[in-house]
């Protein structure tokens, strides 16, 4: 795991689409050409632009990887995701970055990662970069949305998936919201919580942390 550096100033660059892999019917992994000198920390974002529209996406690659990998949910009518879901290989994209401070900070406290949907992307980057010993709760609709399940369950001290629809297919898969299971799976005490996903999840989990996990640190990244 690399430490946080001061080199966080974003810069503009042009990249090209190298490949696309569908992770589920609504989410895909986009591989982008990585220009030399583009350095980032696990958990940071890259900003993509198409005309006046800009969107930030968390990087799901390790800093040592040769390409920039993004995990994107296709949003019906979305300003960028629809285009990114269909643009041809080789298409040029205006980018800037890296952005953000949602980076892993090792500490003596247990690290608890909580994600919903494609909000798991920064944790994928952290796991690929060598983060270990963390607990991850990944909330999704169906089991098919559990992207990177093998990678994350191998890196995590404990990996738990929470489905809002469908039946569990393994002991580490539960039904219900992550908020509900957090209290049962994590003993009370001070932890470092990293929350990435929908605003409602971040709100509900943060409230639980305030009630039950006194002395904790909370780092959050909202996915829209």
């Amino acid at each position: 795991m690399e430490s946080v550096s001061r080199n966080l100033r974003p810069g503009p660059f042009t990249s090209r689409i190298l490949g696309r892999r569908w992770l589920s019917p609504t989410a895909f992994e986009l591989r982008l050409d990585r220009p030399s000198g583009f350095d980032f920390q696990p958990g940071q974002r890259v900003r993509l632009a198409s005309g006046p529209d800009e969107r930030d996406y968390s990087i799901a690659a390790a800093p040592a990887d040769p390409e920039v990998v993004l995990c994107i949910r296709r949003v019906a009518g979305g300003a960028l995701s629809e285009w990114l879901a269909t643009a041809g290989i080789g298409t040029a994209i205006s980018c800037s970055g890296p952005h953000g401070y949602f980076t892993f900070k090792p500490s003596p406290r247990p690290a608890i990662f909580v994600a919903t949907g494609t909000g798991v992307a920064p944790f994928v980057s952290m796991a690929k970069a060598g983060a270990e010993g963390f607990m991850l709760l990944h909330g999704v609709r169906r089991a098919e949305d559990l992207f990177y399940r093998d990678l994350l369950s191998a890196a995590a001290r404990r990996y738990m998936a929470c489905l809002s629809q469908g039946a569990p297919d393994a002991p580490e898969v539960l039904t219900g919201r992550v908020t509900r299971h957090l209290e049962r799976l994590v003993p009370p005490g001070a932890c470092d919580f990293y929350l990435c996903g929908r605003g409602e999840m971040i709100r509900d989990v943060t409230w639980r942390i305030d009630e039950r996990f006194s002395g904790s640190r909370v780092y959050s990244e909202i996915f829209y």
Binding site: S3, V4, S5, R6, L8, Y101, T103, K105, P106, S107, D192, G199, E200, I202, R203, T206, W207, I209, D210, S216, R217, V218, Y219, S220, I222, Y224
Partner: protein, 189 residues
């Protein structure tokens, strides 16, 4: 696009260094007042559409400085997150001194206290000055009321900057009045 989560609806918020604190915490008070200062300087700047571009650029540079200070105020000294923050450059206080000296050259020496006011831009500059002094007091409280140690060194640099900025805003107010042909009003005891 939603910018709200509602996670702060119960009166707590997260520092940049991750700790959950009440919204009346000394750090929140400090960077909240700093935010107010930045907004007042924005109002001052907006009220000076005819100001020379370099003077407006000066105010906007100060606003950027305040953002940098705000990040440090939101971070517990010694926290690992401090490693990712841009350092506070002591040269910025020296830069303010140069700007003060430059404006002072055109001003007559003060022989009495002056009433805050005059042209609206000068009045805003005085409001900004008083808010700046409040921020300075908040930062002094965070630093424990004494000279900061190694971990609190950025607070020490912020204190110097804010002290100098208050002087800058006082001189800026007089500069605005002179520029608009309005004499300072002396206090009559």
């Amino acid at each position: 696009m939603k910018i709200y989560t509602g996670s702060g609806d119960r009166g707590k918020t997260s520092l940049f260094s991750g700790e959950r604190v009440g919204k009346d915490n000394d750090r929140i008070e400090a960077y909240g007042d700093l935010d107010e200062l930045n907004a007042v300087i924005g109002a001052l700047c907006a009220g000076l559409p005819e100001a020379p571009p370099d003077r407006r650029a000066e105010l906007q540079a100060i606003q950027s400085d305040l953002f940098r200070i705000g990040a440090w105020l939101a971070t517990t000294p010694g926290a690992p997150e401090a490693e990712s923050l841009p350092p506070l450059d002591p040269g910025r206080s020296v830069w303010l001194e140069g700007a003060i000296d430059c404006m002072q050259e055109d001003l007559s020496p003060l022989t009495a206290f002056i009433l805050p006011g005059g042209h609206p831009s000068a009045a805003w500059a005085h409001v900004a000055r008083t808010v700046c002094r409040r921020v300075e007091r908040r930062v002094v409280r965070l630093a424990g009321g004494s000279s900061p140690g190694e971990a609190e060194a950025p607070l020490g640099r912020a204190m110097i900057y804010l002290n100098r900025l208050s002087d800058y805003l006082f001189v800026f107010a007089r500069h605005c009045n002179r520029w608009h042909g309005i004499a300072d009003t002396p206090w009559k005891a």
